[in-house]
């Protein structure tokens, strides 16, 4: 359709479920993205703990597969992740290493290195944003580069871009919602089956919904980190993870869920941020059939605005393809400045 296709060379740092998901959707949607947006997305480098693989013309599917399997024949020798970010010619880095809320590393260094090397950055890593949001945004601003992070909050749920683009002009009064699918799954099952917390946690671990160390999810840390990102982006706070008042779900009893139900409520782990500076994660009573009463691993957020009233978004919060979807939309968003907002890929 468009003749002047623009080549965008990508690197992916962190090749776990999310990074792998990004590679998969970029490959799968390559043709459609080229047709619709005139963007020729090429993955020229991938780095993670195993090593680095590069190909200036774009990695082939077989090279990517070999890298994933740890085949040393494709690994670039003597090149560190930082070398790749700095030296390899590319326009955009996808940072998909795991979140670390203590010091944000290694993601923080990757993002800083990429911005200083004049790369755009799209990330699913919450740690750097929850700890150093302002510093990173200022660095991106100085370099004239974009730092996008839709995948950090609510997975595929388009929360940040919805507020930034579609609700532009509205004053945002508050955002409250369920931002962690693991907690929502556990509370939903406890309520439905009248089962104790420990039992449902084990069940969630068995089917892969909860991690073997579930602390980050069940203690509300993951929700708090996402809330900080919303506070900083939407409410222009300069908050860090440590500013959030956090309580998790480990003390919730089946009896409490039953009593709540008798009174017309259910219990959900709710993150809430508002213009008064409230920044809180806690189990809360949600009226049954309230828009926030969603079950299973779903995420949901209600945005209270001054003009448009309450807007509620529901979506899959977790999962590699969902995160990859958010990353892909950020990548396209950086290059597609408005003219094809209504286009959708098949």
């Amino acid at each position: 359709m468009e003749t002047d296709d623009r080549t965008v060379r990508l690197t992916i740092v962190g090749f776990g479920h999310v990074g792998g998901g990004v590679a998969e959707v970029v490959m799968r949607k390559h043709h459609a993205i080229k047709e619709r947006y005139g963007l020729d997305l090429r993955i020229v480098g991938i780095a993670d703990i195993k090593g680095v693989v590069t190909n200036e013309r774009g990695l082939s599917e077989s090279e990517i597969t070999k890298f994933r399997l740890g085949d040393e024949s494709v690994m670039a020798e003597g090149i560190s992740t930082r070398d790749m970010i700095k030296e390899l010619d590319h326009e955009l880095m996808v940072e998909a290493t795991p979140t670390n809320v203590i010091d944000g590393e290694p993601g923080l260094t990757h993002i800083i290195t990429a911005l200083e090397s004049d790369r755009h950055v799209v990330t699913s890593n919450k740690g750097p944003l929850a700890l150093q949001y302002r510093r990173l945004m200022e660095l991106a601003g100085r370099r004239g580069k974009m730092l996008r992070f839709e995948a950090t909050v609510g997975g595929a749920m388009p929360l940040i871009s919805l507020i930034r683009n579609n609700l532009a002009g509205n004053g945002i009064i508050s955002i409250k919602g369920i931002l962690n699918g693991t907690c929502n799954y556990i509370l939903t099952r406890m309520a439905e089956e009248n089962l104790p917390y420990e039992h449902v946690l084990r069940e969630a671990q068995e089917i892969g919904i909860a991690e073997s160390d579930p602390t980050k999810d069940v203690e509300g840390i993951d929700t708090a980190v996402k809330l900080v990102i919303l506070a900083n982006t939407v409410f222009d706070m300069d908050a860090t993870y440590r500013d959030v008042k956090v309580r998790g779900i480990t003390d919730i009893t089946p009896d409490a869920l039953k009593l709540a139900h008798d009174a017309g409520y259910t219990i959900k782990l709710i993150g809430e941020v508002d213009t008064t500076g409230r920044l809180e994660v806690a189990p809360r009573l949600v009226p049954i059939r309230d828009p926030l009463d969603v079950s299973g691993t779903l995420n949901v957020a209600t945005i209270k605005t001054d003009l448009a009233g309450d807007i509620t978004v529901i979506g899959k919060g977790a999962g590699p393809i969902e995160a990859a979807s958010a990353i892909l939309s950020d990548i396209i968003g950086i290059y597609d400045t408005g003219q094809s907002q209504t286009k959708h890929l098949q």
Partner: protein, 180 residues
């Protein structure tokens, strides 16, 4: 449900102040309004609002006044007597007790941390009270759960009551789950 029982509502609110709205009619002569308000404060009441409508006289030429005040319930009768003896007519008495309420859930060692004291701290405010409590105790040493109905004379008082409950609960290691 065998392990659940309803606690009797504590009766300490009987001494608490209640919010009362009262319509009275005054003779249209100077100094009447002050004479109507004085007994309220003499009896320890707290006047919240006075609506004095001189331009809306009754057919018999009296001036309607609507008062809203807080007063100990036991003193209401005395007040009415006093107003009548001053030549005023008490047309209507509306008792507005606790108007706003919310459900909260508690989890923790609720009974062993002196549930009576927890309730008293709310009730003793005068503007709020615990209207009901359902308790579920799974066994000795295990954390129990309760749902509790907090009521107050207004929205901001209800918020204050929740604040008192939350700080009491924090002291006692009890978790409070409040509505969104």
């Amino acid at each position: 449900m065998s392990d659940q029982f309803i606690y009797p509502t504590p009766n300490s609110y009987l001494e608490a102040e209640m919010k009362i709205s009262m319509d009275i009619e005054l003779n249209d002569i100077p100094g009447q309004l002050v004479r109507a308000l004085k007994p309220v404060s003499d009896l320890g009441g707290n006047i919240l609002s006075v609506l004095h409508q001189r331009d809306k006289k009754t057919p018999s030429g009296r001036v309607p006044v609507q008062l809203v005040f807080e007063l100990e319930e036991g003193r209401l009768e005395k007040l009415v007597e006093k107003l009548k003896s001053e030549g005023m007519q008490v047309v209507r008495i509306g008792k507005e007790r606790m108007k706003d309420s919310m459900v909260v859930i508690l989890i923790g060692h609720i009974v062993h941390s002196d549930i009576r004291d927890t309730i008293d701290r709310i009730d003793s405010t005068g503007f709020a009270e615990v209207m009901g409590l359902s308790l579920s105790m799974p066994g000795v040493d295990k954390k129990s759960s309760a749902s509790l109905v907090l009521s107050a004379i207004g929205k901001s008082e209800l918020k204050d009551a929740l604040g008192i409950l939350e700080s009491t609960a924090r002291e006692k290691g009890i978790m409070v789950i409040s509505p969104i």
